[in-house]
């Protein structure tokens, strides 16, 4: 056991941790912003809205993330000329951009599917009541359906964010220096394979369970109305 190597590489691993958090964070935020309209289109009655979104979700959920990353990072090279003309090649040349793009699209598809289930689980009575109060269209979505759907979707969404955090380790394959990337580079140089990968695994464990803890806290906050009222009968004071 080469504890010295672990100690020496800790600063770089923590740097890698920042990259992991950054890549995951950006993808989660943009992915969620994309997922809401996608989910609404997915449940729409208009087939021109529904079918393309269904195809998008099916493709991104049915293929491995690694293929998606390679398709965007290496695959874009096949269209270098066209992309250069559009001025997009400067983006697709960057591994960081491609990594974030593929993670974002991937999580958008999974999140849209989670939200779809939640939107369809919103009780009909609530929608009818809102309509009876004169709400319709976006107002109904914004005030009644989406808030309710988010609460219903939260536990599943927690899982999705945890999966994305772990899946972000794949960006190391296209040269990004996240936790896994740093561990691989140092391990290849020092031959301290298990020491570094175990350290990396421990950092991921801390991140994952920290994230779950935060999401559980939020879940507790947003489900206050589902808990019983605190017992405030006079006999209970002492």
């Amino acid at each position: 056991m080469a504890l010295g190597i672990i100690w020496d590489s800790l600063p770089r691993l923590l740097n890698g941790m920042l990259v992991t958090i950054q890549v995951t964070g950006i993808s989660v935020v943009i992915g969620l912003c994309l997922a809401v309209p996608l989910a609404l289109m997915r449940v729409s009655r208009n087939p021109f809205c529904r079918i393309p979104v269904y195809g998008f979700i099916f493709y991104f959920r049915g293929t491995p993330l690694l293929v998606q990353i390679f398709l965007i990072y290496y695959g874009s090279g096949q269209f270098q000329d066209a992309l250069s003309q559009l001025g997009l090649w400067t983006f697709f040349r960057e591994a960081y951009f491609c990594a974030v793009l593929s993670l974002t699209l991937n999580t958008a598809a999974y999140t849209a599917e989670i939200l779809r289930g939640a939107i369809q689980a919103v009780p009909w009575g609530e929608v009818e009541a809102a309509r009876a109060c004169g709400m319709s269209g976006l107002l109904l979505q914004r005030r009644i359906i989406l808030p309710k759907a988010f609460r219903l979707a939260w536990p599943a969404y927690t899982n999705e964010v945890v999966f994305l955090l772990q899946a972000s380790s794949l960006v190391s394959i296209i040269t990004l220096m996240d936790i896994t990337g740093v561990a691989r580079v140092i391990a290849a140089r020092t031959f301290a394979f298990y020491e570094l990968f175990i350290t990396a695994a421990l950092i991921y464990l801390v991140l994952v369970y920290g994230l779950i803890w935060v999401f559980r806290k939020i879940e507790y906050r947003i489900s206050g109305h589902l808990r019983g009222a605190p017992d405030s009968s006079p006999g209970n004071v002492l």
Partner: protein, 229 residues
């Protein structure tokens, strides 16, 4: 039709290995899942703790890190340990064993939760009835609990399989010539990365769709004894 420049067969061979790797890992995952759920539900505190640690730790570590840890780390760990013990043991894991073992080990943790839920879904009264008929614990398990567990576990196991088959793409990182790795080889040789990765993704989609259809069939089969209204 897209010209694959003669590399189409390479992709198909890769897909074949992907399915093989997936099935082999699934067998390991199911066995570990049964063992793990037995541990989780066991009255023995040590077994409960071991199973709990297994599922908690595995679900918190990325698959890629575990694959790298097993493929590169385990041989060096064994060498270091044997050197410390004054002996020299050289271990060389091949990518197939390392990949199948790791993927199976990871998804065993997910299967554990599935089987645990399935076991709890079998009505208690039936187990009591079986005991009252004089069946031993193991016979009760084999004749009463296990056949019904399949029915409750199938939807969950189907999900595990879908995630698992996609996770096998990661074994390409340790150079196992499965679908992803072969697409990589073909795209480098032809300089048509988009074409080949896209074809590979379509093959994964085909596997997914076929699995979904098989799962439907299997669920109908497992639920054949249940009355439908």
């Amino acid at each position: 039709m897209i010209d694959l420049q003669g590399y189409g067969w390479l992709l198909l061979k890769g897909a074949q290995l992907t399915i093989l790797v997936g099935l082999a890992s699934m067998v390991i995952a199911v066995l570990l899942g049964l063992l793990g759920s037995w541990g989780k539900l066991s009255a023995n505190r040590i077994a409960r703790m071991l199973a709990g640690t297994y599922t908690t730790v595995i679900r918190g570590i990325p698959e890629l890190v575990l694959i790298l840890l097993v493929y590169y780390g385990v041989p060096t760990l064994i060498q270091d340990l044997s050197a410390a013990a004054g002996r020299e043991i050289l271990v060389d894991l091949n990518p197939f064993t390392a990949g199948v073992g790791t993927i199976g080990f990871i998804y065993g943790a997910f299967a554990t939760e599935v089987f645990r839920g399935a076991y709890l879904a079998v009505p208690k009264g039936q187990i009591e009835a079986a005991r009252a008929m004089g069946m031993s614990t193991s016979m009760t398990f084999l004749r009463i609990t296990l056949p019904q567990m399949w029915r409750f576990a199938l939807p969950g196991l189907g999900n595990v399989w879908m995630v698992l088959i996609k996770a096998t793409a990661l074994i390409s990182v340790i150079q196992l010539p499965e679908l992803m790795r072969n697409a990589d080889i073909a795209s480098r040789a032809t300089r048509m990365p988009f074409t080949f990765y896209f074809m590979a993704s379509l093959l994964y989609l085909v596997i997914t769709i076929a699995s979904m259809m098989l799962q439907q069939k299997a669920e109908t089969w497992a639920g054949r004894g249940v009355r439908k209204d």
